[in-house]
């Protein structure tokens, strides 16, 4: 009798253990987040209030937008170290244009000009990174490390190192306004995340990105335009960096030359609720 039950247990328990490991691998991040949330809630009962949650979401939105772009880049086995600097450069270009265009703020469309310029500057810079990586065959790490210094330097030259601030309400709405209580920048990052998801999951381009990342040689032999795909990926990253830069300047009501320092490593600063935000951030990617 005894031996039979033992044999039965032996054959079932390991499979259960394997299942548990698989579940942990899949949902471990969320479990960790849950534990962390519970811990903070016990520390301070206001942690799970709607107000605080919206606060946290606003805080992570900028990183969220950047991490969508970085998802594309990392899927192609690349890296972009320039995003912190490029973010500052994009927002600075937009802000300076808006400030030097007298009478623009009265029209209520200064945000559109700044957004357009940040996006254009960002994607153009990303396109250049992509070109350098594919045409000159320089590794992405080196190209974007160069970009990191280049764009920071350009920002400092452009602004003489001082922040550009004082935007009108239409501009600041993107960082501080809300729709039905949901902060605008949270909405923007959610739209970006859904677009990213749709592109990667349902479009031919998304398939191509995965293929290039998995085996670039096989992708080329299968007739894909590997270089073109990589250039587009870095341009997307750059464009999203520009968008994030615009939103950060709207939130701070100021474009700063030192904005975005260290963002390439997604290391949130200046606040004390770091751990929690990191956790949310990891969840995003």
């Amino acid at each position: 009798m005894l031996t039979i039950t033992q044999a039965g247990e032996q054959s079932t328990s390991p499979t259960k253990r394997v299942e548990l490991i698989a579940i942990l691998e899949k949902f471990g991040v969320f479990l960790f987040l849950l534990l962390l949330t519970a811990f903070f809630q016990l520390q301070n009962e206001r942690f799970l209030s709607i107000r605080n949650i919206l606060n946290i979401l606003s805080d992570v939105s900028i990183y969220g937008i950047l991490s969508i772009g970085m998802t594309f880049v990392i899927l192609t086995s690349g890296i972009d170290l320039s995003i912190g600097s490029l973010l500052a450069f994009g927002s600075m270009c937009g802000a300076i244009a808006v400030k030097s265009w007298s009478g623009l703020s009265a029209t209520g469309f200064s945000w559109l000009v700044a957004l357009g310029i940040s996006l254009t500057v960002g994607s153009a810079a990303g396109y250049l990174h992509g070109k350098a990586i594919t045409r000159l065959r320089v590794p992405a790490f080196i190209v974007t490390l160069g970009g990191m210094t280049l764009w920071r330097g350009a920002t400092l030259m452009l602004s003489n190192g001082s922040p550009v601030s004082g935007f009108d309400n239409s501009y600041r709405w993107w960082g501080r306004g809300d729709i039905l209580g949901v902060p605008a920048l949270v909405l923007v990052s959610m739209i970006v995340a859904s677009l990213g998801f749709i592109i990667l999951r349902y479009t031919c381009f998304g398939r191509h990105v995965y293929a290039v990342g998995d085996n670039p040689e096989a992708a080329r032999l299968s007739g894909l335009d590997v270089d073109g795909i990589l250039i587009r990926v870095y341009a997307i990253m750059g464009g999203l960096t520009g968008l994030a830069g615009f939103i950060l300047s709207a939130r701070l009501s100021s474009a700063e030359a030192v904005a975005g320092e260290g963002y390439e490593l997604w290391r949130p600063r200046r606040h004390h609720r770091n751990d929690c935000r990191n956790a949310v951030n990891w969840g995003f990617t």
């Binding site: 054959s11 390991p14 349902y202 479009t203 031919c204 381009f205 398939r207 191509h208 995965y210 293929a211 998995d214 085996n215 040689e217 096989a218 992708a219 080329r220 032999l221 299968s222 007739g223 894909l224 335009d225």
Partner: protein, 525 residues
């Protein structure tokens, strides 16, 4: 005589496997398999790709565990030991892809994890001495200080075996040990196996080369679809019988409708004086010396040559993978320029590359992603979106026509057998409905059944008017498949003949001898 002979011929039973079953989601990889082995026995394990050999090996080495069944090794019932513990018990596996650290020395590789120490530091002198001893036992004439990366494949294999010997292995599992070896190296390996066998070490010998089974193995066991399909003494068993056990049916030597190939039919592709004298930064340092050929509609054209003769380089140049310095390409009489594989595909040329894992497949991705990739633009809705239902129809069409065995279309390609992986690459090319199909070593490393299926498929394609260009290192394959054959030697086309006039000897002569030598060779004949 065949199926019942499961009792080992002589001495002590070393390994006794009973009722072994293992299933993965969607497939039963092993189903009640029995297998036994005596000490000092060399036992061939045969079967098609996907028959369950790899699963059996993985279970024996402890990389996976069975769902049901028992394994008894050296009189002890095995439980759930880790691969390391299994090694300590004496079961060591030499996989096809070696587990060596290329930048470490031979000695470090042989003694990894069991380095001799002195006052807790590595005792290098003792290490080199031990390594030299083991190497001598194996007749491996290399300095133990050499980095493994500098060795030939055959020598690296010996280092793997040396590792096993040093672990005092009682059972060494060799997974397709001769797949990448030259004939001379194979002979050397056979000798070594014989010598070790006399020291009472047993072998499980997995191979696709049936001709070596009678020379080296005492017994064989055949698996088919995860089940025991028979075993016996290879010296008393005709190769045809073994093949029948493996595939479960007679392999009809498919009708040679190569004569169907319209001899007079139009030329689809004409390659004129392809030249390249500069070395490429990418791997192949092989040139093209004014190479020309002509490919006709509905024919299967063979390209014979030794490895490194320039066969692969020529088709790579045609397909736009590598550049050429001069030369012209005519597609149905019109001059075209192909600068990239993308251009080639646009002109209706498709290619199955030489190395399916490195150049053909996205191993971590699903069958779906792999199969439709080249064709996505035709499978799109609203220009940008993948039309999943059209994609499903495509997958289903090729699953049936190529008999791809797969659990479902979301399975990662990595988990498929070699034959099925090759079919995925072929399917991706065929989905483009090419006018010209280039296949480089289409049957390398796949089993007899899948091989016959690939051959039939190529014949069918030719019959429907596709021009097929085949590269193969196996002359019998070319002779049975092609209607015309070109020979390549040292980056030059050295001959061309219709298959009726060709023979292995003739081809071999053109592939290996310079024109002047050829005459003397003929004279001696």
């Amino acid at each position: 005589m065949l199926a019942e002979a499961t009792v080992p011929p002589t001495n002590v039973q070393l390994l006794d496997v009973r009722g072994l079953s293992k299933s993965f989601p969607g497939v039963a990889a092993l189903n009640g398999v029995a297998f036994s082995l005596a000490a000092g026995e060399v036992h061939a394990l045969l079967g098609e790709n996907g028959a369950g050999k790899s699963t059996l090996l993985k279970i024996l080495s402890g990389a996976q565990y069975q769902d049901a069944g028992t394994i008894k090794f050296a009189g002890k019932l095995l439980g759930r030991e880790s691969p390391l513990e299994r090694q300590r018990l004496g079961i060591v596996t030499v996989y096809q892809e070696f587990n060596l650290m290329p930048n470490l020395s031979v000695a470090e590789n042989i003694l990894i994890g069991r380095e001799p120490t002195k006052f807790r530091f590595v005792d290098w002198k003792a290490m080199y001495r031990r390594a030299r001893e083991v190497a001598q036992r194996l007749d491996l004439a290399v300095d133990p200080l050499t980095p493994v990366a500098a060795l030939s494949v055959a020598e690296q294999q010996l280092v793997e075996i040396a590792k096993a010997i040093n672990l005092q292995a009682k059972l060494i599992i060799l997974d397709e040990p001769t797949a990448a070896l030259s004939n001379r190296e194979v002979g050397r390996l056979h000798k070594l196996v014989h010598a070790l066998k006399r020291q009472n070490i047993a072998f499980i010998y997995v191979t696709h080369r049936l001709d070596e089974v009678p020379t080296i193995c005492d017994r064989f066991t055949v698996l088919r679809d995860g089940k025991f399909a028979g075993s016996g003494d290879p010296r008393q068993c005709a190769t045809g019988d073994i093949i029948r056990m493996m595939v479960g049916r007679d392999l009809e030597p498919s009708p040679t409708h190569r004569s169907v190939a319209q001899q007079s039919s139009e030329t689809v592709l004409q390659v004129v004086n392809f030249m390249r004298t500069k070395k490429l930064p990418s791997a192949p340092a092989i040139m093209l010396r004014s190479m020309s050929l002509e490919l006709r509609r509905g024919e299967i054209l063979g390209l014979a040559g030794l490895v490194g003769a320039g066969r692969t380089e020529l088709v790579r140049a045609i397909f736009g993978i590598d550049p050429i310095e001069s030369g012209q390409l005519f597609l149905q009489g019109e001059a075209i320029v192909i600068r990239s594989p993308r251009d080639a595909i646009r002109h209706g040329i498709a290619m199955v590359p030489e190395d399916r894992k490195k150049q053909g497949l996205f191993l971590n991705q699903s069958i779906r992603h792999n199969l439709s990739l080249s064709n996505l633009s035709k499978l799109s809705r609203l220009k940008y979106f993948v039309d999943r239902s059209a994609e499903n129809r495509l997958i289903e069409r090729f699953r049936q026509s190529l008999q791809i065995r797969m659990p479902n279309s979301e399975t990662p390609v990595r988990t498929l057998s070699g034959g099925n992986q090759q079919k995925i690459v072929l399917a991706r090319c065929l989905a483009l409905s090419p006018k010209i199909l280039i296949v480089d070593e289409p049957t390398r490393g796949i089993d007899v059944g899948a091989k016959a299926e690939v051959h039939n498929l190529l014949r069918q394609l030719a019959a429907t008017g596709t021009a097929v260009l085949v590269i193969s290192s196996e002359l019998p394959e070319l002779l049975s498949l092609c209607s015309r054959i070109y020979t390549v030697k040292e980056s030059r086309i050295t001959g061309q003949m219709v298959v009726e006039e060709a023979s292995e000897e003739k081809l071999m002569t053109l592939m290996t001898l310079a024109p002047s030598e050829r005459h003397t060779h003929a004279a001696i004949d």
